[in-house]
Amino acid sequence: MSVARPARPPEPAPPDSVRLAEALIFCAPAPMTEADLAARLPPGTDVPALLAEIARTYAPRGITLARVAGGYAFRTAPDLAPCLRGASPEPRKLSRAALETLAIVAYHQPVTRAEIEEIRGVTTSKGSLDLLLETGWVRLRGRRRTPGRPVTYGTTPAFLDHFGLDAVSDLPGLDELKGLGLIEGRLPAGVRLRQPSDTAVPDEDPLAPGEDAAD
C-alpha cells in the first residue's frame, strides 16, 4: 500500500498540554507518574484525561503509551515484537534458578533468604540473589522483626517496568494463587507470609530511632 499522498492536509495540532506531556514522557529516563506530570504541566490540567487522550491517539501506532510501574512510558507496540527482535542486543537470559527465585521474591514479598530456600527446597546458590540485585529487579527492603532480624527482599519499579506490570498486585495468576492459599503457605514456625506487597508490612522494618543492631 502506498503511503505517499502528496495532497494530504497537515494533521490538526493537539493542544499544547498534550504536546508537552508527550515530550515529557518521551524524554524521561523512567516512567512518569501522574504526579510528575501534574507538577510540570500548566496548573489545573486534567492529567488523567490528557493521558487517556494520548493513549487513544497512540493505540494504533508503532509506539504506544504504556502504564508501567505506576507511571507512563512510551513503548513499542507488543505485536511488533517479532519484527523488532534483534534490533538491539538480546538481554541476558535468567537461569531457571534465578527466575524461580525472582518469582518467589515477587509473589511472596517481603521475603527472606531462608524463606526462599524453604520454598525451593534448596540452598539458594550464591550469586542468584546477587544477580537479581544487579539487574535492578530485586532490592533489599528492610529487616524482618524476628530473631536474627533477617534482611527482606522485594521487587523494584524496574522489575514492574521490565515485565510490563503497573503494580505488584497485577502479577499474573496472583489472585488464583492467593485463592488456593499458596501464597500464605506453611512456613517454618514464627514466620508468616502474606500477600505480596511492596509497601511496609506490620512485622517489617521501621526501626525505632536509635535502635542499634551493632554486633
Binding site: 515484537a81 527482535r85 538480546e90 527446597g121 534448596v122
Partner: protein, 268 residues
C-alpha cells in the same frame, strides 16, 4: 511402581557434585538427573508422573518412589548430595508413621499432618514454578517491547542531573573494598618455635642438678605454661633428650606407651 525410578534423560551437577574424578569405577552407567534442583524438585517430578492432581497424589506411593530412587542410586554407587539423603531419612520416617499405628500418647505430629505438610510444600513449589513461567512468558522490556533507544541530547543549559546509585552498587562497593583490603592485609601470626638448640641448652642446665628418675615434663613446666608453645616445646625437648641419651649423658625410661618419659643423669 511403574517403570524405573531413574529418569533416563537426566544429569544433575548438584546431585552429584561430590562424585569427583575419584568416583568408583563401578559407576560406569551414567544416571542422568539433569534439571533436578534438590530433593523437593525430584519429589515434584515423581509426583507429576503419578499424572494426577497434586491435591490427590498418594504421598505413600511418592515416598516409596523417592526411596527407590535413592536405593537405585546407591546400588549404582552414585554419591547423592547430602540433601537427598536427609530427605530420604525423613521420608523413611514418614513412611513408617503412615504404615504403623501411632504409638499411644505420641507427642509428635500426626502422620496425616506430616504427609499433608509435604504435599503442601510440593503444591507451593509447583505454584511458584507456574508463576515463574507466566512471568517469563510476559512481553519483556528489551526483548518484546522496547523503550526509547537513544539518549537524548541534553537541552542547552540543562541543570546537572541528580546523583544516582543503587543500594546494590553501594553494598557491592563496600564488600569489594573490604575484600580487597583483606587480600592486601594477609598477615600470618609469627610462630613461636622452641628450637632444638634452645631445648638442649635448657635441659642441660636443669638435668645436671638431679640424679634421681624425674619426669621430663616436670623440667619443662615453665615452658609448657604457654599453650601456643606446648607442641614445639614437647617436640624439641624429646629430640634433645634422645640426643643427650645417644651421647651417653642421660638415661631415659618409659614404663608403657604414653606414660611419662623419665630421665636421670647417666653418671649417677
Amino acid at each position: 511402581m511403574p517403570g524405573s525410578p531413574l529418569p533416563p534423560d537426566v544429569t544433575d551437577r548438584d546431585a552429584f557434585e561430590e562424585a569427583g574424578p575419584e568416583a568408583p569405577e563401578g559407576a560406569a552407567f551414567v544416571v542422568d538427573v539433569d534439571g533436578f534442583e534438590g530433593p523437593l524438585d525430584l519429589l515434584l517430578e515423581l509426583a507429576r508422573r503419578q499424572k494426577v492432581d497434586l491435591a490427590r497424589i498418594s504421598i505413600l506411593a511418592l515416598v516409596e518412589q523417592y526411596l527407590a530412587f535413592v536405593e537405585e542410586a546407591r546400588r549404582l554407587r552414585l554419591e547423592l548430595a547430602g540433601d537427598y539423603l536427609v530427605m530420604a531419612a525423613w521420608l523413611a520416617y514418614l513412611k513408617s508413621r503412615l504404615l504403623l499405628p501411632a504409638p499411644p500418647r505420641d507427642p509428635g505430629p500426626a502422620a496425616g499432618d506430616l504427609a499433608e505438610a509435604l504435599a503442601s510444600r510440593l503444591r507451593r513449589l509447583e505454584a511458584i514454578r507456574a508463576a515463574a513461567a507466566m512471568l517469563a512468558g510476559r512481553a519483556q522490556l528489551g526483548r518484546d517491547v522496547f523503550g526509547r533507544g537513544a539518549t537524548l541530547p541534553e537541552p542547552a543549559s540543562a541543570a546537572p542531573g541528580p546523583f544516582g546509585a543503587t543500594l546494590h552498587e553501594l553494598i557491592a562497593a563496600y564488600a569489594r573494598q573490604r575484600q580487597e583490603r583483606a587480600r592486601a592485609q594477609v598477615t600470618l601470626p609469627p610462630r613461636s618455635v622452641w628450637s632444638l638448640v634452645d631445648a638442649r641448652a635448657a635441659l642441660g642446665r636443669l638435668i645436671g642438678r638431679r640424679d634421681d628418675w624425674t619426669d621430663l615434663d616436670s623440667y619443662l613446666a615453665q615452658y609448657l605454661a604457654d599453650p601456643k608453645r606446648r607442641a614445639t616445646v614437647r617436640a624439641s625437648s624429646l629430640s634433645a633428650v634422645l640426643e643427650l641419651a645417644r651421647e651417653g649423658q642421660i638415661l631415659l625410661r618409659q614404663e608403657r606407651p604414653f606414660a611419662p618419659i623419665q630421665i636421670r643423669t647417666a653418671g649417677a
